[in-house]
């Protein structure tokens, strides 16, 4: 039977005998084969028989012994281990480089500076270079062997052949035949290649820092109210529905909804928003954010894998593991590389020795140089490193880019379509104007508002909600209504304190034979031209005034649109509103074009039309269209667009839709996302260019014998490092 090992975090142990107690208790459980409890690491490793996990029993048994246990999640454990391993690898690489350099330096000094060609000098050099060649350079021989066993060749083959040629020739001239020595070539070459590997490993470690940072945000424990008592439990034990207590300065452990108390919360680590957000009863809070001022209790709604943080981590991880389509090109080149380079090296040697009739040494050195300069390593690193740094930087700013493809799409955008409600506007209609009719029989504005609000309180229309809200803001009492009726699409009517109240469109007034005076009509069309929805209010068959409602624009909308136009992207607004309202809003924000009166289900179709080039001023060809929406009711349109950008309202993100997800509800982030994508793709292109340039220029120079082999090795090592460092520079760019 197969044994299953599970690791648990144990809390509450304060001595080694505690560990023993737990161990003994766990061993008594059926199916448990072996238990090791480590007091130092506060961990228990339990080996069970069979595939079936016995987590609940084990956790319960630990609790019975008076301690707390939680299963270590796979990722957490793997991360810790992988992290430690990586650091060790990097350190090892560094030490190898240092020792190799210590042995190589005397060789270089003797041969290049002192130019000592005495027999003693030759012997010393042969010994030191031999150590470098076979001790530190052993890995290249080993790699060559494994490759050979599989009937193929790899990068190690190139380095092994190249350095062996130089070393063994020198060995021969030292002890057997007449000729020059060049031990420094093989020794320096190996040292440089090792240097390159060390620097690369170090730099690559930095490219993945964003994920580490995100994972580190997770709280470790939560203070949960259980049986009327507040107790600290490991985060893994928090269940949805638990009441969690948070004090000032503490991290909010999981996602939830505030039930009691008031505070402000720093959400910058999740949304990038630097100003703390006010939280009152009913507001949602996000795990990993930090409570600033007050204490509050909240009900856990999402835990474990479902929290916003966990989802963000997943998106970033997937993105960093993805490759941009541009990368395929690099992959195909590399396939035939090593054999082609060996062939090229041989041809170089033959040409120098047999055709040009130059000395053997010249031919051999050119051969070595060609072998070692040709590594296409830098080409392969061009994309992944830039994507890792780019997506990581995005995550730190509340911009989640879902990998290489959205990144490339973001660079090609010609048109951006914005959903109006909730994207350009706040999505919450507000009463903007109340106008009393001149002959309104002393009906004050407040009176108009009070009567209409009383009536609208019975309606469920979003506009009605705005009116009721306004009345409440003004502390107006809502009166009781009799004979209420809603006339669909037109308005509402009813009796309030014995008066007949009618609120709705001009058409509704006509239906009830109520005349609307010319000056009222004038006011109405003026307000409509400002993009507001206007309702007429009548009391006892007399028009008493107008109430205008509008969905107000977000503060940053106009500026964001202007910036997009500056970078030559056409902006379009899509909305279900009528032409006049839509046009008015478009004028306010300065948007280029309007698609009005579009039903929600037709939005995707409109996007498709745009893509097919059915747009003024665009030649009929494929247009790259991005769509910005909230990702909830416009998911099909986001999917249809070449790039879907989903905007989260606060932290309530529709994370499944959209190639780019903006956690903050701020249009400026659309521009930031585009900028970041452009910067990242620019880095990829720079990296690719540099890598290709280096190979295409380096090989001919080496073949012509213009480059000493050891410097060819240095160039090769540094080309990879320079690509990784160039990617890391992305972190410094301003968004």
């Amino acid at each position: 039977m197969e044994n299953k090992k599970t690791t648990y975090n144990i809390s509450g142990m304060h001595c080694a005998s505690c560990a023993l107690t737990i161990e003994n208790n766990l061993k008594k459980l059926p199916g448990v084969k072996n238990v090791t409890v480590n007091f130092a690491t506060q961990k228990a490793v339990v080996q069970c028989e069979g595939e079936v996990g016995q987590e609940p029993e084990i956790i319960a048994a630990v609790k019975d012994s008076g301690y707390e246990a939680a299963a270590v999640t796979e990722t957490e454990e793997a991360l810790d281990q992988a992290q430690g391993l990586r650091e060790k690898e990097i350190k090892k690489e560094r030490n190898i480089f240092i020792f190799s350099l210590i042995l190589t330096l005397p060789v270089a000094v003797l041969s290049m500076i002192l130019r000592d060609t005495s027999f003693q000098s030759k012997i010393i050099q042969s010994l030191l270079a031999g150590l470098v060649q076979f001790y530190f350079g052993w890995r290249f021989y080993r790699g060559t062997y494994f490759a050979f066993k599989n009937k193929t060749a790899n990068m190690d083959t190139l380095i092994a052949i190249g350095t062996s040629a130089a070393y063994f020739y020198s060995l021969a001239t030292t002890y057997l035949i007449k000729g020059e020595i060049f031990y420094e070539t093989s020794a320096l070459l190996i040292t440089f290649v090792i240097l390159g590997k060390w620097l690369e490993a170090r730099a690559k470690g930095k490219t993945g820092e964003a994920i580490k940072k995100l994972m580190g945000l997770q709280a470790k424990t939560a203070r949960v109210v259980r049986d009327g008592r507040e107790i600290d439990v490991p985060i893994q034990e928090v269940a949805p529905g638990d009441l969690v207590m948070v004090r000032p300065g503490e991290k909010i452990p999981v996602d939830g909804q505030v039930m009691e108390g008031y505070s402000s919360v720093d959400e910058s680590m999740i949304s990038g928003e630097s100003i703390p957000v006010e939280k009152k009863i009913g507001d949602s809070v996000v795990g990993a954010t930090i409570n600033k001022t007050g204490s509050f209790k909240f009900k856990a709604t999402k835990v474990g894998k479902d929290t916003v943080l966990a989802q963000i981590i997943r998106v970033v991880e997937d993105a960093q593991a993805s490759k941009a389509p541009i990368q395929k090109f690099a992959d195909t080149i590399s396939g035939y590389f090593v054999p082609a380079v060996i062939a090229l090296g041989l041809i170089t040697f033959i040409s120098w020795y047999f055709l040009v009739l130059s000395p053997f040494v010249t031919a051999l050195l050119a051969f070595t140089a060609v072998l070692v300069i040709a590594c296409p390593c830098a080409l392969g690193l061009a994309t992944p490193t830039a994507i890792m740094v780019g997506t990581g930087k995005g995550a730190e700013n509340g911009i989640l880019i879902r990998g290489g493809e959205p990144l490339e799409a973001a660079n090609k955008i010609q048109v951006i379509v914005f959903d109006k409600t909730g994207t350009l506007t706040k999505g919450q209609p507000e009463v903007t104007d109340i106008i009393e009719a001149p002959n309104a029989k002393r009906q004050t504005r407040n009176k108009i508002l009070q009567l209409t609000a009383s009536l609208e309180n019975r309606s469920e229309h979003p506009l009605a909600e705005a009116i009721v809200k306004k009345a409440k803001e003004q502390n107006l009492e809502l009166l009781s209504v009799t004979n209420f009726a809603a006339i669909a699409g037109h308005g509402v009517k009813g009796e309030v304190t014995g008066q007949d109240v009618l609120v709705g469109t001009e058409k509704l007034m006509a239906q009830f034979n109520i005349a609307v005076a010319a000056n009222i009509k004038e006011d109405k069309s003026r307000l409509e031209n400002e993009g507001k929805t206007v309702m007429v209010a009548a009391i006892d068959s007399n028009v008493v005034g107008l109430i205008a409602v509008a969905d107000t624009l977000k503060e940053t909308t106009a500026a964001a649109i202007k910036q997009l136009q500056k970078i030559k992207i056409k902006t379009i607004m899509i909305t279900g509103d009528n032409q006049r309202t839509a046009q008015a809003i478009a004028r306010q924000v300065g948007i280029d074009e309007v698609l009005a009166e579009v039903l929600p289900e037709d939005k995707a179709k409109e996007i498709k039309k745009l893509q097919q080039g059915e747009l003024k001023n665009f030649r009929p060809r494929r247009v790259v269209v991005a769509m910005v929406g909230d990702g909830i009711n416009d998911a099909p349109a986001l999917a249809q667009a070449d790039l879907g950008i989903a905007m989260g309202a606060g932290t309530d993100i529709a994370i499944e839709t959209g190639g780019i997800i903006l956690i903050k509800n701020d249009l400026q982030d659309v521009i930031k996302a585009i900028k970041l994508s452009r910067q990242t793709l620019a880095k990829i292109k720079q990296n690719m260019f540099w890598a290709l340039f280096y190979n295409s220029v380096g090989i001919p120079i080496a073949a012509l014998g213009l480059l000493r082999a050891e410097f060819a090795g240095l160039a090769m090592a540094l080309s990879s490092v320079s690509v990784v460092v160039n990617s890391l520079l992305l972190k410094r760019k301003k968004l």
Binding site: A321, S334, Y336, F337, L346, I347, S351, F354, P376
Partner: protein
């Protein structure tokens, strides 16, 4: 002397061509069957071993990569046709599952493309 040189160059060219021909005609390793899956075990040590694997279309493919070295080069394996890039921690086995939707030859490689393997789906 020049003649020898030319003959040698031709020989190198012929050898290179032979190598190309040889790699094209390598048949590769077939899968172990396990619970409706085609399973391959690939050791990462200097190269991918085996470096050509042959699978049938339709059944999911599971490739277990075991990286028996700590060479920086082989830290990641890429299946660019499926946009997969996975870290292979040294000394551990990482499983990658793929279900190809069409026949063809698919390259898997390290970041730098120096470790190369081929998945043939037929």
């Amino acid at each position: 002397m020049q003649l020898i040189g030319i003959i040698l160059i031709i020989m190198v060219a012929v050898l290179f061509w032979l190598w190309l021909w040889y790699t094209k005609n390598q048949t590769g390793v077939a899968a172990k069957e396990s619970g409706g899956r085609q399973v391959f075990d690939v050791i990462v040590k200097g190269v991918y071993s085996p470096n050509i694997i042959r699978a049938k279309l339709g059944e999911p493919i599971r490739i277990n990569f075991t990286r028996q070295e700590d060479n920086e080069c082989s830290r990641f394996v890429n299946f660019s046709d499926w946009q997969i890039r996975r870290e292979l921690p040294a000394g551990r086995t990482v499983t990658i599952e793929i279900t190809p939707t069409g026949k063809g030859e698919f390259i898997f490689a390290c970041d730098m493309g120096m470790y190369q393997g081929k998945l043939i789906v037929e």
